[in-house]
């Protein structure tokens, strides 16, 4: 087993560009969508890292890169010390047992023509884990583990509610007993009342099985609840990375500040400043020069339009990429 101080997964300079092609017979590349642009991230064993940002900022693409559902344009990904960024499909297969994913939409990620038992048992059959009779038994154990009735293995996904389906998705991810689970907005498609149940299920499983999570979400209150550290992404880049409470108490990057001001507070008497960002997210095809956030930033100055701020350490474990950091203790 690995050194507990070493990261379980280490991503360095991960880039993912999607080409935009034109032409009928000979397709030529006319532009690129800069979905993920030079992202570094370490996932320590047993921790939960939240990854937040608005729609289209590259959170999901980054998650899919880590599990190699997308091929990287550039960069390296190491899992447990092994470089997995250039492995092909076959070489990647043993690692699928270690890294699994929970998908966003529990209605789309379960094949409607398959019984639940088949969906959860498929990973076991593909990887040849256990004998034929054991698979069924294991599926029932997994169903029980995620809080569903083992008798339901014979049902179809459409007979379950959204929350139950997401539990099935979790059971599928757990089937091969992975060490890392990338949860791509696992609760975004669910009702608020169900969200808590699924989030609690995930954290209970973490305690019991010692899992590591990358928890992708756009809902900051959910992320705060589950995460040890939080990374804020904007337009393909990580702009701030900090322990969860620290980020909420003292955000350094203006974008984080604006995001946090949008979190609803369940107290009507609390008065606070609401920062409303002007304009839309710029196109990732032609990202802005310098700091990518500068067209919408209220602190922006000339340097922001020309020089890209590096991700630097402002406090213990607190990194941010900004020329005009906020809330600094000096």
């Amino acid at each position: 087993m690995s050194d507990p101080a070493a990261p379980l997964m280490r991503a360095r300079g991960v880039r993912k560009y999607f080409p935009i092609k034109r032409g009928v017979v000979f397709q030529r590349e006319v532009a690129r969508v800069h979905a993920v642009d030079d992202v570094d991230l370490d996932l320590m064993p047993g921790e939960t890292v939240g990854l937040v940002g608005e729609s289209g900022c590259g959170k999901s693409t980054f998650g899919r890169c880590l599990i190699r559902l997308h091929d990287l344009t550039d960069g390296t990904i190491e899992f447990d010390g092994q470089d997995i960024s250039t492995l092909d499909r076959k070489q990647m297969r043993p690692l699928r047992r270690e890294i699994q994913m929970v998908f966003q939409d529990p209605y789309a990620s379960l094949n409607p023509r398959k019984r639940v038992g088949t969906i959860i048992g498929d990973p076991l059959r593909i990887h040849g884990v256990g004998a034929r009779g054991d698979v069924n038994k294991r599926v029932q154990e997994l169903l029980e583990l995620v809080g569903l009735s083992p008798e339901h293995y014979n049902r179809y996904p459409h007979e379950f509610s959204g929350g139950q389906r997401q539990r099935i998705g979790v059971a599928r991810a757990l089937a091969l007993s992975p060490r890392l689970i990338i949860a791509d907005e696992p609760v975004s498609a669910l009702d608020v009342s169900i969200q808590a149940q699924v989030v609690n299920l995930l954290s209970d499983l973490q305690d019991d099985l010692g899992l590591t999570y990358l928890f992708i979400a756009h809902d900051l209150s959910v992320v705060r609840h589950v995460s040890d550290r939080i990374a804020v992404m904007y337009l393909g880049k990580i702009v701030e990375l900090a322990p969860a409470e620290e980020l909420y108490d003292r955000p350094i990057h203006p974008y984080s500040e604006a995001l946090l001001s949008a979190v609803p507070v369940p107290d009507p008497d609390v008065e606070r400043e609401r920062i409303v960002l002007q304009g839309d997210v710029p196109s990732p095809i032609t990202p802005p020069s310098g700091c990518r956030f500068h067209p919408r930033c209220r602190y922006a100055t000339d340097i922001c339009t020309t020089t890209e701020p590096p991700l630097v350490k402002h406090a213990e474990q607190h990194l941010a990429a900004c020329h005009h950091p906020l809330n600094l203790r000096s």
């Binding site: 559902l69 094949n111 990973p123 029932q140 083992p150 179809y156």
Partner: protein
């Protein structure tokens, strides 16, 4: 790589078993399986209510029974086959329906229910029944071969995309641009003549193998396009991504995740294609490039009936009705299946 399989993964009881409706009696030991109504069961329930489609389906079964079981029985009862000549039934014109004629051996009398199909004394009814055999064989086999080719190519093109897709799509368009009938005739005249002798150990009548090849070569491109389009949209679905995430191979994804979603389309399209192929077979035989002359087939019967259309017009009507009912039945069944297999349909 670190091993993870040794770690105990299933520790503790189910955490947060909150939103599960069914409680009670949870033991992983002997769970009573809750039976769910699957896709096919639902489709069958919808189909059962569709009277017209049911009639079509029953008609097809009856016709196939008559063709494949009824023909030997009729041959046995009448003591002759569709190929038997009868000099006593020969004349300037074919025998009329319901005519009792001395048999070839000279004993009295044998019945020609629908008369004879030509002046040589071939029995029209037996010809129709043997012709139905040939028609169904050609139409169904050509459909299976053609659709199988189309589905395979369409799935590969749609799933892999890129160069593979381009090659398959261009090939599809190329074949579609060919004048179908002209090529079918040319093929039958040249290669077909030689292929006609292949009957797969006498299993099929001469010409069946040729026609199956000719028709299937020209019927794979529609299913290929339909399937390609469906796979294009299916492969972007999250459950396909989930399958890749758990490490499923391309073959497994195609076979066990995509194909089940295509079966409805395939069945419906095949049923409708059988109807088209029955017509196509009759057309080619009528033109003299399908089933060889002398073999009983609906197209050949119409062809020989042309000689007598002024005096005995109904000789054209019988095989015409056969073609009409067969194609109608397959079309009705196909329409009903389309409704039944559409998951949006009400139960």
């Amino acid at each position: 790589m670190a091993t993870s399989s040794e770690r105990p993964i299933l520790s503790g009881a189910a955490p947060g078993a909150a939103d599960v409706g069914v409680g009670g009696g949870i033991s992983a030991g002997e769970p009573t399986a809750v039976k769910a109504r699957g896709f096919w069961e639902q489709a069958w329930r919808r189909f059962r209510r569709d009277r017209v489609a049911l009639v079509g389906g029953v008609a097809i079964i009856v016709m196939i029974l008559v063709a494949f079981v009824g023909t030997p029985i009729a041959n046995h009862l009448l003591g002759r086959t569709a190929y038997s000549l009868n000099t006593n039934a020969q004349g300037f014109e074919p025998a009329l329906p319901w005519s009792h004629t001395p048999t070839a051996a000279g004993t009295c009398c044998t019945l020609y229910v629908l008369g004879t199909s030509d002046t040589a004394g071939h029995d029209e009814l037996l010809g129709m029944m043997a012709g139905a055999q040939i028609s169904f064989e050609v139409a169904i086999l050509a459909t299976i071969v053609g659709v199988a080719m189309g589905v395979l190519l369409g799935m590969i093109a749609g799933y892999y995309g890129g160069v593979v897709d381009m090659l398959v799509s261009r090939a599809t368009e190329l074949v579609m641009a060919l004048p179908l009938l002209l090529f079918a005739i040319a093929f039958s005249f040249t290669v077909g003549q030689r292929l006609n002798t292949y009957t797969i150990f006498g299993l099929f009548a001469p010409g069946v193998v040729t026609l199956v090849i000719v028709i299937s070569v020209f019927s794979w491109f529609y299913p290929a396009r339909i399937i390609r389009a469906q796979v294009l949209s299916l492969r972007e679905k999250e459950f396909v991504e989930a399958a890749r995430m758990v490490g499923a191979s391309n073959g497994r994804i195609l076979r066990s995740h995509l194909l089940p979603h295509l079966t409805g389309t395939i069945i419906v399209y095949s049923t409708l294609l059988v109807a088209t192929n029955i017509l196509f077979e009759a057309g080619l035989s009528y033109l003299g490039v399908g089933i060889p002359q002398g073999e009983p087939s609906w197209g050949n019967l119409i062809n020989s009936a042309v000689n007598y259309y002024t005096t005995i017009p109904w000789l054209m009507v019988w095989p015409g009705l056969g073609i009409l009912f067969a194609t109608l039945a397959f079309n009705l069944l196909g329409d009903g299946l389309r409704d039944a297999l559409d998951p949006r349909g009400t139960l």
